[in-house]
Amino acid sequence: MEPGLALSTRYDVTPVPFEPLPVAIRVFAVPSTVEKEEREERKVSRKRREPQRSLVFDTETTTDASQRLNFGIWRYYVDRRTGLPGKFCVEEGIFYADDLPERYPEGFAVLLRYVETHESDVAPGRDTRLQFLSRSEFVEKAIWRKAHEHRATVVGFNLPFDLSRLAISSSETRRRKGRTTMVGGHSLRLFENERYRLRVDWKSVDSKRTLMSFTTAHGATDPTRGHFLDLRTLSFALTDRGHSLESACGAFGVPYEKRPVVHGTITEEYVTYCREDVQATAKLYTAAVAEYRRHPID
């Protein structure tokens, strides 16, 4: 087709001959915001999002004034980031005091028998063997690996008491790198070899509140203060009432009734009691976090 004839053929007008001229247009192009937002959104969603990990544990002790550790139960949860924590249990186990086999061999034998004859209560398809660790192994595999390295939240009811049962010694906290928050509290030594391991500092603010944090391990490249959740504090904060585990479960709609046991003597029933306590603690954790999320604070 000749230049200039296109209009005439389409609209039936008298053709006006013209010479085609090269035209240049300068524009300022604004990128489509929708596309950009989509791209950004995609970028955010591709970021590594750690699941929520929680280590729930409880200890049982001697009934004398020292209240030394006899044994404890832990449950380890790995939940999706978008849901509630304390739902998908991947591991359950028993830990015992390092000196229990010598100090209380009958109790240790009960624990051994219990592990051999009972299965763990974990999510379907997970290892149903109850793990069995000494205190030293527990602090290494659970407190160090899970709570410190994998940033799991350490959960308990009256957590400072349970954490202090894991300690092999304690001292007064000191000022660390200019931070004075923990001064006047207690520094719990958990590991025999402290060179590349840490301590747990805790300081009581009042009867309901306690500050807790990891100290910085020697040579740590990525130090963390850790995540500690005392459900006694959280249930008080949410209800304005001091609770025992049983009453807190009642307040948050978690059915739980402690079975009557004789404390201090390790029996099969006593171990089951402790397991139920930890299960109830985990359910309370889920319920309390659900309640907490109903009151978002920006």
Partner: protein, 126 residues
């Protein structure tokens, strides 16, 4: 991956193909076609589970029963998550069965080792 296929775990649009049985010692997938569509977050979650169970690293050169046990363990881990939302109890039981079958094989391997370690180098074992 079929772009319209939803995530096998949460039903969101899938982003990745998860290889159920992982990689062998040569770095290649043991079963390249055996994949499950997963969204990015669920893939991360399963990866995390596999790391937690020490099943994420490529399988070193092992015997056939060990390889099958490893594949069963990995499949069990995925299935246990698939059974989570919505709760699918039969898939949970299947996940448990995968682990049990794997334990049987690991036990079998341990028994063979105790009997005669030479079985590993016998023809047709790897």
């Amino acid at each position: 991956m079929d772009p319209d296929e939803p995530c096998a775990m949460c039903g969101q649009p899938a982003d990745d193909d998860h290889h159920l049985t992982g990689r062998g010692s040569d770095g290649k997938y043991l079963d390249p076609e055996l994949t499950a569509p997963l969204c990015h977050d669920c893939h991360e979650l399963v990866g995390d589970d596999l790391r937690g169970e020490d099943l994420e690293k490529p399988l070193r050169k092992v015997t056939i029963p060990e390889r099958v046990a490893h594949c069963l363990d990995r499949t069990g881990v995925l299935l246990s998550r698939v059974a989570e939302i919505p709760p699918l109890s039969w898939i949970g039981r299947l996940a448990g069965a995968c682990h049990r079958w794997a334990w049987l094989l690991w036990g079998f391997v341990a028994a063979l080792d105790a009997w005669n370690r030479g079985w590993r180098s016998a023809p047709g074992m790897t």
